[in-house]
Symmetry: C2
């Protein structure tokens, strides 16, 4: 297959996958395109290659910059902004895990903790059951949180990576 075909295929496919990851189609597409591009791209380049509107591309780029998945660059003697993707896969993973933790784990943690604090120690069996569930949920969320921290550490630590491989 030709280089451009592969690129197109990947970008399109990744766009579809993105939507089942809670990432908008265009965000996923832009990120895919940039992952495969070894050189920096301007907003125009992206608009043109993916046929997306300026506003959309601008928004998406901002989002990706926020996630630390792409970097802004400038070129001497050119006032346009260029963007280049983080290409190190473990860096990418770190950024995504961090973001997911922020979006998915922390709010749940808060919610459950708040509710747990407002339970009294009444004795009717339903109260007791609810309190139990909340307590368990709470410790479960703590574990997921710990697990995401572990994941972040694993990436930085080859030894850990091997230990994991061993025990799994």
């Amino acid at each position: 297959m030709k280089t451009d075909e592969i690129k197109t295929q990947f970008v399109q496919a990744w766009g579809v996958l993105g939507t089942s990851w809670g990432i908008s189609r265009s965000t996923a597409q832009v990120h895919a395109l940039m992952l495969l591009s070894s050189s920096e791209l301007s907003t125009e380049d992206i608009m043109q290659q993916l046929q997306l509107s300026r506003g959309n591309v601008n928004m998406v780029l901002r989002e990706l910059v926020n996630w630390n998945l792409i970097y802004k660059q400038t070129k001497p003697g050119d006032r346009k902004e260029y963007f280049i993707a983080e290409h190190d896969i473990w860096q990418i993973a770190t950024r995504i895990i961090t973001e997911r933790k922020k979006r998915e784990i922390m709010p749940a943690k808060q919610t459950v903790k708040a509710l747990l604090n407002s339970t009294t120690d009444a004795k009717d069996s339903e109260q007791v059951h609810i309190k139990n569930m909340l307590t368990e949920l709470n410790s479960f969320i703590e574990q997921m949180d710990a697990m995401s921290e572990l994941l972040l550490k694993v990436e930085k630590n080859a030894l850990l990576k091997n230990v994991l491989k061993m025990i799994s």
Copy 2:
């Protein structure tokens, strides 16, 4: 706070959280309600308590049964169907991880593998870069896959749990 207030709060909050987990509001709400209920509920009960339509509740219950997060039950001398939630938090975790793997990891795995197979071993630098990215992506996805398997094992294995605690 009163039992019912806590229940309502939790159900509503969980519904909101659910949407940022890729779970529809009503699915999350119904699951929350059932987690806190120690006894089985009928479709009617749920409709009434959450003010949802029959069709919606039916769909949601089917989905939750599919995920193995709730079970169908019947009562002797009553032809209604009742549902009760899996209350063991680690069981719940197992079901959710399995489901996420199916939804999020497997499709990505397939996509990347397919593309990787259609790369040639041409030498122009862009091809090479693309091939590298795809290869790395592929092994990264493999690792995520392995990690989700590990998570599933951890739950069943107290020793493993402790090892993890040690090294993290």
